[in-house]
């Protein structure tokens, strides 16, 4: 008997099948990485918690009403002016700061503000509080947060440029590129961060539920 040869399987349609799968994955893939404004919530205060007394000049009060209008320290303000006002407030440096690690507080020697008596004493004493109505639009709220973070990052970049010759975002990036291992970069980041700590508090909203 003649042995029959196995006929070769035709692989011509393999490309079609692969294309079909390829197009499916092409369509379902989303390339974007999730990104957002990160916030760290405060821990729940104990029941008998007595809030510390804060001088009014160290407080930057922002309130947003239900028509998405902004009031800063009692005056109406437009969103586009918020960043400049916040920067001015944080960078004022008109007095003595909080003690850090047991070292008594001293005047802010890196602040470029006008050292006004009626504005904040020191960046580590400057507190920004946001109060918003329950009916405020989330978009406006996020924009306000974004402007405040922008003010902080501008100040940090400026100080970092002066001290270490590169901007803070470059510094952070090179720290991450080093695999988060470079201790000298880390200490620089900690130094800049503690020079301008982000102190933003959210008050409980006003308005009826």
């Amino acid at each position: 008997m003649a042995r029959r040869e196995n006929p070769e399987i035709n692989a011509g349609s393999m490309a079609d099948i692969a294309f079909l799968l390829l197009i499916f994955f092409l369509v379902t893939t989303t390339m974007d990485v999730d990104s957002g404004i990160s916030k760290k919530l405060a821990e729940k205060p104990p029941a008998d918690y007595d809030p510390p007394k804060i001088k009014e000049k160290n407080l930057f009060q922002i309130s947003i009403n239900r028509n998405n209008e902004l009031f800063v320290d009692g005056d109406v303000m437009e969103l586009k002016d918020l960043k400049a006002a916040a920067t001015k407030f944080i960078d004022n440096g008109g007095g003595i700061g909080n003690p850090v690690n047991g070292v008594p507080g001293k005047a802010c020697d890196y602040c470029a503000g006008d050292k006004s008596e009626t504005s904040s004493d020191h960046p580590n004493k400057a507190i920004i509080s946001i109060e918003s109505d329950r009916a405020t639009e989330y978009g406006t709220y996020v924009t306000v947060q974004n402007e405040l973070l922008g003010a902080y990052s501008d100040l940090r970049n400026k100080l970092c440029q002066k001290k270490y010759g590169m901007s803070f975002s470059e510094l952070e990036k090179s720290y991450i590129d080093s695999g988060r291992k470079d201790e000298s970069l880390k200490s620089k980041i900690v130094d800049i961060k503690s020079s301008y700590p982000q102190i933003i508090t959210d008050l409980d909203p006003t308005g009826t539920k």
Partner: protein, 157 residues
């Protein structure tokens, strides 16, 4: 003249034998980078607010997402922008602690402090809803929060 005659011969067909290989290579690339959405959206895809000072969310497995927006099923849930979706259900802020505790069971104990809650809320939703969620998150000590945004500036200067 023979020189010119040679040229008239048709060029040989390009071999397509390696086409499947190329296509497979692309296919594997896309298969590897694809992340399938875990659950169906019961709300209209939120139109995220835009911001510039954003941080990327790393470690996808440590992120639990809460959606806020307008429900697709308007007959049942109305057309307000304040519906909260947890997993694949429309829920209330009271369900948030259970959701977070459930998410915590999926990761090891050492990683729990690094868990982040990402809130994807529509820009027309209300701050009140966000506050309700925030208070509930604070109750269960889920303190890392990320307000999901898209890149871009929302202020016209």
């Amino acid at each position: 003249m023979s020189k010119f005659k040679k040229k008239k011969k048709g060029q040989p067909a390009i071999s397509t034998a390696s086409l499947p290989d190329i296509v497979f290579m692309l296919l594997f690339f896309f298969m590897v980078i694809t992340v399938m959405r875990k659950n169906d959206l019961k709300i209209d895809a939120p139109r995220l607010p835009s911001a510039t000072e954003v941080k990327k969310l790393e470690h996808k497995s440590l992120v639990s997402t809460i959606y806020v927006g307008k429900a697709k099923d308007k007959g049942k849930y109305g057309s307000s922008y304040n519906r909260i979706q947890l997993n694949d259900k429309i829920a209330t802020p009271d369900d948030v602690p259970a959701f977070i505790l459930n998410e915590r069971e999926k990761v090891s104990d050492a990683e729990i402090p690094f868990m982040t809650t990402s809130i994807k809320a529509d820009k027309e939703s209300n701050v009140g809803t966000l506050t309700d969620i925030r208070l509930k998150l604070r109750d269960v000590n889920a303190l890392k929060l990320s307000l999901s945004t898209q890149k871009g500036s929302s202020i016209s200067k």
